[in-house]
Amino acid sequence: MKGGEEQGKINLRLPKSQGKRRAKATGRPLDFALPLSYAASVATKSRVIMVRSNRILNRGGEVDEEALQAVVDLALPRLVDAPSPAAAWGFLFTSRQTVGVKVNCIGGRLLSPSPRWVPVLVRGLKQAGLEEERIIFWDRSSRELREAGFPICQEGAGVRCFGTDASGAGYGPEPMQNGSYAGLVSRILTHLTSAQIDLCLLKDHNLSGLSGALKNLYGAIHNPNKYHDHHCDPYLADLYGLPSFRQKFRLFICEAVRVQYHGGPGFKPRWVEDYCSILFSLDPVALDYVSWQLLDRIRRAHGLPTLEEEGRPPTYILTAGDAAHRLGRCSWSEIELMELSA
């Protein structure tokens, strides 16, 4: 194993609002799908692994596949307390599953997860016994995937990659409802896959405040434009509360290699920081909570106000973790942040 562990180095501070919206510790179990043995071992905390790699960007400014592989191999065993990467993949997924990898490609080639993730995640999932044909990289449209550099493939041998707009995919016939959310959900999530990886990008968002793991889920529904009011709060929490989402998404990965820390969600080169990190968690709320602190720290370092100071705190994260939703954890006392270097 490369690199070393530096737990707690980030020393992120709580935002002011956190005290007001903090989830109450009721003792009721969280409502998200952790593997049982892991859930028992970390019943009181959600683990977030953040791996920093100085090699992650090559000289051409592209994500380096070998470095990415090293990051994943370092993070996953720590995430689930497994002895090896293969054991970690086997812990999270089974050979009988069809696994979707939901990416967020709306930002185009310059602001989307790297296509280098495809071989890395495929190698990992194959270690869990999956055939390549049972792995689907997806987003809302094939065009956006293609423009972000993901090779479209819907049939034949090899890994699949297509949008919800592709023939045979589409949205479900009837709206799904949960709380404030109602809309159609991609059949790639509901029908074509049995487990999911959320592969998102950390970026600023002019309306929601932050785009990360939960915000990536808007790419799985037909009407995200209806749910951006009030910083997407409580809509994102209610969306993730739908069983199709909550039960299938098992692993959350946030690429924070090039962070659009202001001016998002579109690409604005003047506000991009090469942060060279990737975050992993089984809890999207905890992952987004850490991402929020991270984004604020980068913003402060560049002389910008925090998201809350700018009037757009991503409170949907706190709502997702509140006593009514309990979809994950959103306070430092409930999050175990582990910082690693690869």
Partner: protein, 382 residues
């Protein structure tokens, strides 16, 4: 035997209807391009039309100024309506010349009861809406993005030509929410007027005053869906606001354009007597007692399937309240055969227009007056 869902069935029927309609209309269109649509001669990647009411903001953001929602839209994002997109700091409408529904309807279906009765109207709609009603009857059209539904390439001049060829007296901008296809609507209305056709709009009136004034100059009648008379209902059931709608109604009254109001009575949500009474008093005081008011029957739909259809008694009670408060033309809708479908002379009380559903069985209005007593009947009659 193939099993299909209700939604799939409706979609197929809609596609077939549209295709048949187009075939019948002999529109100068090329062959359908996938999903029952018709190819755009400019090509599918041709640039969309620039939106008219918006302003540019720093960092490539824009603020839409078409409706009171005032969406602040970042680059590559869309507004609440889902049909307007910011591309590099320029705001575009994605639905200009792209109707997703085309039909020929009786004008009574809109409903307009005081506007060219017994005539046909060429109805068109694109995807999208700027509010989100839980009871929407056309949600598969209004609550989707343009790329999620089949559409046709039908530029304004072609729409006007076909409406005329089909002997329609007007073009109706309807079904979804015409505010969101404002540019297409206004351009088509201009083309239609050149051919002597009228234009009517069926809208939620959730629109800013300036575009509404422009709209009033281009069209001949507007039917406003007043969803309720409480802001709570607008916010919780429609994701909208009441106040801007009332302001729009006042603007229509001031402008002098012909308009009618529809109030869908939803059991337990907006069927209480007091708000209905307040609404009627407001209409009488702020607008005019002559404004036709239609109370229409709700059917369980979309996200409100748990509610029953509106009891006929609720509709009758609402109508009685309106009449008692002094409104002169109060109707019931979606209740075929009910006496509340008819128009009665407010002076001699005789039946002026007898209707059955969308058909007119008898019309005793002559040059805008009652054939029996000569009372002037407000409306557009010829």
């Amino acid at each position: 035997m193939e099993t299909i869902t209700r939604r799939q069935f409706l979609r197929r029927v809609a596609c077939t209807s549209c295709t048949l309609a187009l075939a019948e209309l002999s529109l100068p269109l090329s062959s359908p391009a996938g999903k029952g649509g018709t190819a755009d001669p400019k090509g599918p990647d041709s640039p969309p039309a620039e939106a008219r009411y918006y302003r540019r903001l720093p960092n490539l953001e824009v603020e839409c100024q078409l409706c009171p929602r005032r969406c602040r839209v970042a680059d590559l994002e869309r507004g609440f309506c889902g049909v307007r997109e910011n591309r590099g700091g320029t705001y575009y409408t994605l639905v200009h010349s792209r109707p997703a529904a085309l039909n020929i309807d009786p004008i009574e279906k809109k409903p307009f009861f005081h506007f060219l009765p017994s005539t046909l109207t060429f109805s068109l709609a694109t995807a999208g809406c700027n509010i989100h009603c839980k009871f929407c009857q056309n949600w598969e059209l209004s609550q989707v993005r343009p790329e999620q539904i089949s559409s046709f390439y039908l530029p304004p001049a072609a729409a006007a030509t076909e409406a005329q060829r089909q002997s329609c007296a007007s073009i109706a901008y309807t079904y979804s929410e015409p505010v969101v296809f404002f540019e297409y609507m206004v351009d088509t209305a201009r083309a239609a007027r050149k051919k002597g056709l009228r234009n009517v709009v069926v809208t939620n009136a959730f629109i800013d005053p300036e575009p509404l004034r422009e709209l009033c100059r281009q069209v001949d009648a507007i039917k406003v869906d007043l969803k309720a008379f409480t802001d709570k209902f607008y916010r919780e059931v429609c994701n909208g606001e009441l106040k801007p709608v009332l302001q729009s109604l006042q603007l229509l009254q001031k402008h002098g354009i012909w308009y009618e109001i529809v109030y869908l009575v939803v059991p337990t949500l907006n069927d209480q007597e007091e708000p209905i009474r307040k609404m009627c008093l407001w209409i009488k005081r702020e607008l005019a007692p002559d404004v036709p008011l239609h109370f229409t029957r709700f059917q369980p739909m979309y996200l409100l399937k748990n509610l029953p259809p509106t009891p006929i008694e609720s509709l009758e009670r609402a109508r009685q309240i309106a009449l008692a408060e002094g409104l002169r033309f109060v109707y019931l809708g979606n209740v075929p055969g009910h006496e509340g479908e008819n128009t009665y002379c407010p002076r001699c009380r005789k039946t002026l227009i007898r209707r059955l559903g969308y058909t007119v069985r008898e019309n005793n209005v002559r040059k805008g007056t009652c054939r029996f007593c000569g009372e002037r009947i407000p409306g557009v009659w010829g």
